[in-house]
């Protein structure tokens, strides 16, 4: 029997939400690691019962937890995240002065599609790590951080975080706030910025090669050259593997937001959650809405059925949207108000799975058969 498992990382622990393929009745387990921030939790495509979770607090630092039984039990694995190669040098601080790189936390975990023991992690201050032993040991892929623009990277409000990792065989993409998107064609050895076409009013050179506050990037596996980006402001699209970008915000009520999702079976169908502005991190008019484009951007439709009509002032973070792979594609997102919403019909209608979790930091979903 088909089972759907939603992995929700929150401000105060991790939760595992399960349902059958109808996705109308859910059971909730957790909190796992209660009291700890779980920025991200994701399962291995090669072994769905292998899960990884990033666990952190300001008191006790960073841990990575691993489950080999689908989240029933967990064990802490390696948490030695340093900067390889001796003196890591500096990046720019908020005030424009050089600041030594300092590890703070793991924002995103990306398991390999082929090997349960191989997993990548994106850190703050921006660094890309790889483990080939199930998370026991981590090695920084230094090619990203030592490329020439890195000393000029400056943190966004959330920190200098590497929050997006896209694996496409030997080609990889990462995204960093507020540096931009980077591409490697040699499995992470060397990197180059791929931000041509981005335009950001908040930086001195509005179309600079780096310095853009990219919030999230997604790609459909069947169309790897097409990338979709939710930038600080602007929804963007690339059809040449990031070499050039065009804005596809179209008729969105606001093009500020954090997550962006791509339908599992329709590479031109994408989802965003418009947020009022960079200073008002809640939906316009207190109405929580997902907007869907079936044309890869520019033409958007408002999805409202089942979502709050009024008095809703939550945010949806960059890693808090996911899609499942069932025939009728499921879309999921979590809010800073602790709700996880699910749609079992590609976004036409929505219902909350849970309403009162801690603030949701990330949402991932697995389909188990």
């Amino acid at each position: 029997m088909t089972q759907v498992r939603v992995l929700a990382g929150t401000r105060k622990g991790a939760f595992v939400l399960t349902s059958d393929g109808k996705r109308d009745k859910w059971s909730v387990s957790g909190p796992h690691f209660g009291g700890w921030e779980v920025y991200h939790m994701k399962g291995s495509p090669a072994d769905p019962n292998r899960l990884y979770a990033s666990q952190n607090t300001g008191w006790f630092g960073q841990l990575v937890q691993r489950s080999d039984d689908g989240g029933e039990t967990w064990q802490p694995v390696g948490n030695d995240f340093g900067y390889a190669g001796g003196d890591p040098g500096t990046h720019l601080w908020y005030d424009g002065t050089p600041r030594p790189w300092e590890f703070k936390r793991i924002w995103h975990i990306e398991p390999s599609p082929d090997d349960p023991d191989t997993v990548y992690a994106g850190g703050e201050d921006a660094a890309l790590y790889k483990s080939a032993d199930g998370g026991l040991t981590w090695t920084e892929l230094t090619g990203l951080r030592v490329q020439p623009s890195a000393p000029g990277w400056q943190p966004g409000a959330g920190g200098l975080c590497l929050h997006t990792i896209i694996l496409q065989g030997s080609r990889m993409f990462t995204a960093i706030s507020a540096a931009g998107t980077f591409r490697s064609d040699d499995a992470g050895e060397t990197w180059r910025p791929v931000n041509r076409g981005l335009h950001s009013e908040g930086i001195p050179d509005e179309d600079a090669e780096v310095g853009h506050c990219v919030h999230h990037v997604e790609a459909h596996p069947a169309r790897p050259d097409t990338l979709y980006m939710q930038k600080h402001w602007d929804v963007m699209r690339s059809d040449d593997g990031g070499l050039s970008w065009t804005e596809v915000s179209g008729n969105l009520p606001t093009d500020f937001g954090f997550p962006i999702g791509v339908h599992a079976h329709e590479p031109d169908t994408i989802y965003v959650v418009p947020i009022t502005s960079d200073s008002l991190h809640y939906p316009p008019d207190g109405k929580l809405r997902v907007w869907r484009s079936r044309s890869g951007g520019n033409e958007w439709e408002e999805l409202a059925a089942g979502l709050p009509e009024r008095d809703c002032y939550v945010n949806v973070y960059r890693d808090a949207m996911a899609v499942d792979t069932l025939d009728s594609c499921g879309i999921y997102f979590g809010t800073t108000g602790g709700q996880v919403y699910a749609s079992a019909d590609s976004g036409d209608s929505w219902a909350p799975i849970v309403r009162d979790l801690p603030a949701v930091l990330s949402v991932e979903v697995q389909v188990l058969s």
């Binding site: 607090t57 008191w59 006790f60 960073q62 841990l63 948490n79």
Partner: protein
């Protein structure tokens, strides 16, 4: 709990009671105090913490920064109603503290600092 060796100096193998904050007890899978064996003749903050991390490797990096060895910002070390947090990690613990730890009459406390508003 009282240990037989009550001299202020430890002998290799001296046992020290340690109280961990709740999150770290959960992480280590223990309840209540733990007892660690300190393998150096002079009790220091570093020696006690090395013994804790040796017995509970999953606590590595949660009390002290892995790279610098420095106390994490929101961790405090207390014993015998004294704040040892800012003492040099390799300095011998004060005689009264060392004696109480060696005797087992007082524990070494690892505390999550009060922080927040």
């Amino acid at each position: 709990m009282t240990f037989p060796d009550a001299s202020p100096n430890a002998s290799p193998g001296t046992q020290v009671r340690v109280v961990l904050p709740a999150h770290l007890r959960n992480l280590a899978g223990v309840r209540g105090e733990v007892v660690v064996r300190v393998g150096v003749p002079v009790l220091t903050q570093r020696a006690v913490l090395d013994a804790v991390e040796s017995r509970f490797p999953m606590l590595g990096g949660t009390i002290r920064d892995r790279r610098t060895g420095k106390r994490r910002a929101f961790i405090r070390f207390y014993a015998c109603e004294q704040d040892l947090s800012n003492e040099p990690p390799d300095a011998p613990l004060p005689d009264g503290v060392a004696a109480a730890l060696v005797a087992g009459t007082e524990p070494f406390l690892v505390v999550g600092a009060m922080a927040g508003g």
